[in-house]
Structures are given as C-alpha cells and as structure tokens.
Amino acid sequence: MRPELVELTNRARELFDDLDLKAVRAWKEAAPGRKAVGHMPIYVPRELIHAAGMLPVGIVGGGDRLEIIRGDAFFQSYICHIPRSTIELALSHRLDALDGMLFPSICDVIRNLSGMWTMLFPDRYVRYVDVPQNYERAVGGVYWRRELEILREDLGRLAGHTVSDADLSRSIAVYNENRAAIRALYEARSRQPWFYPTSEVFLFLRAGNLLPPEEHTAMLRQYLKLAPLEADRCEQDQSRVVLVGMFCEQPPLGLLLTLERAGCWVVDDDLLLGLRWITCDTPTEGDPLQNLVEAYLNHSAVTASRYLPDGDHGRGLVDSVRQNRAEGVIFCAPSFCDPALLEQPMLVRALEREGIPHTQFKYSEDTGQFAVIREQAGTFSDSIRLWSEA
C-alpha cells in the first residue's frame, strides 16, 4: 500500500477507534467557545448544527471495543445493543465533549433513549427529532418546517448567536459537497469494488461522524484518488452483493472483513445511511429552511424507519440490485432491531418476485465470532456464482 494511503487509512482507523471523542475535544479546544452536538442515527439535519458554528457528531454506540459495565443495568436482555453502549459511553464520561444530543425518530428504543438522556443528564440540551411520516408539503412539510424552526432557535441559543439564512445556505452547500463525495465513493465501489473494499469504505464513512464535513469531504476525495492506484487490488471472482439492515446499529469491522473473505464484494449497503440520507443536492438559493424541508419530503433515502405511502416495499432494494449489477442480497440486521426485522419479510417477498437470491443473519455491534457468518456468506457467494441464472 502506498504511504499516502497508509497514512490516510490510519487516520480513518484512528477516528474509528476514537470512543473518547478526542477529535471532538481537539476541535473544540482549537478555538474558544466552540461547541459540539451529538446525534444518533439515522437522519438529523446536520446542516443546522453546522450553521450554528457547532460540530455535528454522529454517535453509533461503542461497537466491539467497549466493555459494558453500567449500560447493561439500564436495558433488558431483549433490547438491541446500541442504547446500552451509548449509555455506557455517556456514563463513563466519554461523551462529555458533547453540549447537546439529538435523537431522531427511528424506533421506540432510540425514542425512549431520548427520555432517559433527559433524566440522566438534565443539564444538557436534548431534543427528540420527530421527522414527519406525511410527505405532503402542506401537511408534513408545514409540521417539519416548524420543528426545524424550533431546532434552529434552540441551536442558536446553545451556540450563543442566531443562525442566519446565509449561515444555513453555506452549510447546505458544504453538506452537498460531502454527500456528493460519498455518492462518488459508492459509485466507484460499485464499478470496481476491488479498489474500495467495504471494510475500508466503512472506516472512511465513519470518519464523517467526527470530522467537520469539510475535512471529511477532503478525506473522501483523497481516498477516491489513492485507492485505485494500488496495483495489488485487482478484480477477483467474487460475488456482488447488496447489504441491508445496518442503518442504525453498526456491524463490527470484523464482520465486513469476514464477508469479503467469504467471497463477497459489497456493491451497495445502508451503513451509516444518515450521512447520505438526502439523495441529491439541496438548493442553496432561496429560503434555506424550506430547502431542507423539501429535501426531506422529496429526496429522503428509502429505509425501514420511513413510511412508504405507496406501500411498494422492496422497490428501492430491487432497483439497487439492478443498478449495481448485484447478484444477491444479504440481510444483515442487528438482533432485536424492530425496523429492520419487521421490514425484512416485505423485502424478501419483493426479491422473490424478481428471483433475486438472498440470505440472512443477525449481528450485534459487539459480535466477536464470525465463523458461522463466514460459512454462510461463503456458501451464499458460491451458490450465486455457480448456480445463478444471471
């Protein structure tokens, strides 16, 4: 690997391992009065935090690198892992750099976690971000605009100054750039997945949880430039698969490595979906708040936590399979994840209508044993390469 890519990857890995938010503390200490606001998956309008001059920080639990000492005492055994590791991070003071926390509406777990946060950390700003499930401009749009107005006022108070339209338009432009870079990375991986292994792509995506978006965009562009220069990265006889179900609690890195070693090239996924929730550029002219509203209503990613008025579940997944020339789908959801697991039978039905092969297993962010997954994924990969009609 070229030294530049080694250095870049090491930096991404360092951020991936940064459970203490050292990078956030460093950013805050670099200038007086800086503040940071955390948010859980999937979608929050990070443009608003950025426009207030604060650092948006994506929190996705502790993964497999955190010993849970106190977190388990807050959750029953049948609840997914991300809330317990997130509480653990907070109670062990690893999240002290955060001046506020946003909890978007994904499911009842993250929703109730917002109430727990309010009770456990009464001196910090907490808001439940209840995105609309009605996508009519005059209905859900009016409601969402009011929610964003309140959030803008709150964040302005936290930052100590009002968030102007000009600030917000500038931040929208910054995030357009960031999402464009992520889209470019996904498109490049889909074309030549051997240059951009998902275990590596994941590290670079995760960096976006901690870095200012401008730095993250630069990092992604650099990676896009460097990765194809690696001479030993060449096309192999691997299966092209789409991963589904990882939009909230993230898999351990070892799981993604295992899939690759089992013969799968991941050509699309829903990892860290919030980073690319808005699927095209948001206008930077006109009323910026309304632009955010319209972007949410008309250009949101399709996922299990969103209501689909037309009921066409699976259309987005089938489209992804076709567009990315995938040969199969791996449902890979966290244990006890209501949205992903309740959605799965509907997606399976859509795939079976189209004759698209699929397999499924579950994980927890701290899963440490991958032998069974490797065997299952390997068998799946072999079967679609050997027996697929495509």
């Binding site: 929703r111 109730n112 917002s114 439940y128 209840d130 009605n134 409601y143 949205p339």
Partner: protein, 436 residues
C-alpha cells in the same frame, strides 16, 4: 408467604354475575356478530389500533372497527397465540419482534377466526394511527401486503416533554382533514357529518366521566377494584369499539353503580375466586399484563392480598384521569389531543411523573414493573424509571419480565417467586416501621 386465599366466599356468586360483566360480554358478542356479516350487510370494516383510536370518527361513518391488538390478546387468553406465532415465524418473521404482530399474522394465515369463533372480515381500510408505537407502522405495512387495501396514515408526534404543542395538534388536524376523513369518505361513500361526530363525543364524555370515577375509587382503603387485572376489563369498551355509543354509556353507568355498591358494603375487588377479603398490599403497576397466563398471573397477586390500585396500562387508550375528555364543542381538535395524550406517546420523564403521582395519590405500598419483551415502547427505560421512582417516593419497586402473548416467555415459577419475595420485603419494611 400465606397460601390462604384471601377472598370473601359469600360474595363469590355475586362476583361471577356482575351485571356489567354480562353487559360487556353481550356488547362484544354483538360486535363480533356484526363483523362476521359486515360485508353481507353492506357495512365497511376498518382495522385500527387502541392507542390513538378514532372510534367516534369511524362510528360517524358507520364503519365497524377491528383492533388487531385485541384479537391478539384474546388469542393469548384462549391459548392460541403460541401456534399463531409459530406460524408467523415459519413464514419468515423474526423471533425478535413484537408477538402481537406475529400472533395477528399467524391468525390471518390460519383463517382469521375471531374470538367468538367466527371469521373476521378483511379490512376495507387500514387506519394506521401511528401513536406511541413504531411497530404499528410496520404492522400495517405488513397487513397492507396481505390485504391489498388502502391505508390512511395518521402520524401522531411524540410528546417528549409531555406537552401538547400547537403545531403538533395542527399537524394531526391537517392529516385528519386531508388523509383520514377523505379516505373514510371514499371507502364508505358517505360525507363527513360533524354533527354526528359531536353527538358521539357527547356520549363518549359521559362514559369517560364514569370510567374515571371507577378508576379513582381505588383511592379508597380498602380499594373496591383492582385497577390492573380488573382494570383491563373496565377499559375494554372505552378503548375499543364502544366510545360514542349508548351501549358504552350504559356499561359505564352500570359499572359505576356496582362499584358504588361495593364501596358501601366495604367489599374488596372482584377476582376470579370471588371478592378479595383483606387488602394487604396496595400496588401501582407499570407495563402491560401477560395474556397467555393472565389468571395465573392475577392469582399470584390476589392470593397474597395484593391489590393494584393504579396502573399505566389502563392509560394506553387515553389519560382520562388527568382531565382529558372528548369535547363535542371541538370534535377534531379533541381527537387530536386524545391521540397526543395516550400514555405511550408521552416522554419518559412524564411517565415517571405520572407514576410518582399515582404512588402518592393512591397511597401505594409499592410499585411493580412488568416488562414485556414484545413492547419496546413500554419497556425501554423501565429500569431507569424504577430507580427514579424509588428515589422520588422512597417506595421500593419490583421488576418482573414476561411477554404479551408468547407463552414461551412466561416463566410462572420464576415470576411467582419474584412477586412473593417482593411482597415479603414490603411486609418486612412495614414491620420495621411499626417497631420504630
């Protein structure tokens, strides 16, 4: 602990023949009979959920409501849910998700036979009142694929701070006017009749007054009711298909008269073994009951003389005891407020505050949390709620785990052991206080 049944045997026959019980049985029977022939009779059927149900609005269009949660709990009580859940899991539904959903889907796959043994009609409309529970949304998305019928989506914003905000109410009103009412009009071929809705709300408010009186009768010592195990029967008509009906008004008037009589006679709550004789413990309970072993679960309490004087589960279909009433003067607005104020649509700090108030107002000796695997809406945060309540009230809490309708998650010996140990601890604390 004492195994002596604490009941008043002389009133056993009376307990089994309470007029309100017979009335409720007749009402439910008639409702399921009407459902069985609904389509032959030219009536439309709407499936919807208990929290945030728009019964008066549906009744104003003369449609018959079906509540899949109620079907699921009935299946649990009739020991059918295990097979239904197995059927759904066989069809690819995860073992990790809500068993109400799987029970409902399994029931559908096995013929959709309702609690009275008659086939339930398919829905003409799925009224997805997305109130306080994320799973509701996925549930009806799944049913939509099975029934291929229209869906009216009503997104009710969460009250994280426990307050009703004007733009939240407006959002619901907009959805009622642009989504729910037009779809009801389309399905039924009828025009929205607000005067009819107002009249139904007038009836609802009457029944609600009597329900609140009944629930608050538990402030008496001894309590004439059990506000959890008995309470689930008392809320039945109010939370399902009978708000806004004369039958509902009559049921609650009758129930109130019976409880007034029990108070006059100094009788304890009705149990399956007759009236409870001696009230030894007054408890508040958070969380839904287990349905697959409901009577066995109840018996674990009444055998020890434990009476539940207030519960959160009896508020999932509306917080009437906090003052809310359906208001004929502002019908749609009060439907919006009703949806917003249902218990599981309230943030955890508000829920803790409510339970704290119950513990004080109802002079409870203790509180228990029955944490059910199926319901993250209730369950996530309950361990913190337990600590907060103990700190705020000084009253010790107990914690048990079960499920709604999955019989695999009801461990009778374990639960009985926990309840007995908890009550022993309350007794011990009481003895220490007396000595002091």
């Amino acid at each position: 602990m004492s195994s002596e049944p604490r009941k008043d045997a002389s009133s056993q026959d009376q307990a089994q023949k309470e007029r309100s019980m017979l009335l409720q049985k007749q009402m439910i029977g008639a409702h399921y009979d009407a459902l069985a022939t609904a389509h032959e009779d030219g009536r439309k059927v709407v499936y919807t959920f208990v929290p945030g149900n728009l019964t008066e609005l549906m009744r104003a269009f003369d449609v018959l409501p079906v509540l899949p949660e109620i079907n699921a709990l009935q299946s649990g009580m009739r020991k059918l849910s295990g097979d239904y859940i197995a059927e759904a899991e066989k069809q690819g539904h995860s073992e990790d998700v809500c068993t109400y959903v799987k029970c409902d889907i399994g029931m559908l796959k096995k013929g959709n036979i309702g609690p009275t043994g008659k086939k339930l009609p398919p829905p003409d409309l799925l009224l997805l009142s997305y109130t306080g529970c994320f799973t509701f949304m996925k549930w009806f998305e799944l049913l939509r694929q099975e029934y291929n019928c229209p869906v009216a989506m009503l997104h009710v914003p969460y009250q994280s701070d426990g307050q009703i905000h004007e733009h939240h109410r407006d959002y619901i009103l907009d959805q009622l006017r642009t989504e729910v009412i037009p779809k009801l009009e389309q399905v039924t071929g009828r025009r929205y009749d607000e005067d009819r809705l107002r009249e139904m709300m007038r009836l609802s408010a009457q029944a609600e007054d009597d329900l609140v009186w009944v629930l608050e009768s538990a402030k008496n010592v001894p309590s004439p009711i059990d506000a959890y195990f008995g309470g689930v029967y008392y809320i039945g008509p109010m939370f399902t298909a009978f708000r806004g009906t004369e039958a509902g008004v009559e049921y609650y008037r009758t129930l109130r008269q019976e409880i007034e009589e029990r108070l006059r006679q100094g009788l304890g709550p009705v149990t399956p073994d007759g009236s409870l004789g001696t009230e030894r413990y007054r408890l508040v309970i958070e969380g839904p009951p287990n349905w697959t072993s409901f009577r066995e679960f109840w018996k674990m309490f009444y055998e020890e003389g434990a009476v539940v004087v207030a519960s959160s589960y009896t508020k999932v279909g509306g917080l009437y005891d906090r003052g809310f009433r359906h208001d004929p003067a502002r019908p749609l607005e009060s439907l919006a407020d009703y949806c917003l104020g249902c218990y599981t649509n309230l943030g955890l700090p508000t829920r803790v505050g409510l339970l704290e108030q119950y513990i004080r107002d109802y002079r409870a000796d203790g509180f228990m949390i029955n944490s059910v695997k199926s319901c993250n809406s209730f369950s996530v945060g309950q361990l913190l709620m337990l600590r907060q309540l103990e700190e705020r009230t000084g009253v010790p809490g107990g914690f048990i785990e079960s499920d709604l309708v999955d019989p695999r998650y009801f461990s009778a010996a374990n639960i009985k052991n926990r309840i007995e140990s908890y009550l022993q601890m309350l007794q011990q604390k009481r003895a220490v206080r007396v000595q002091a």
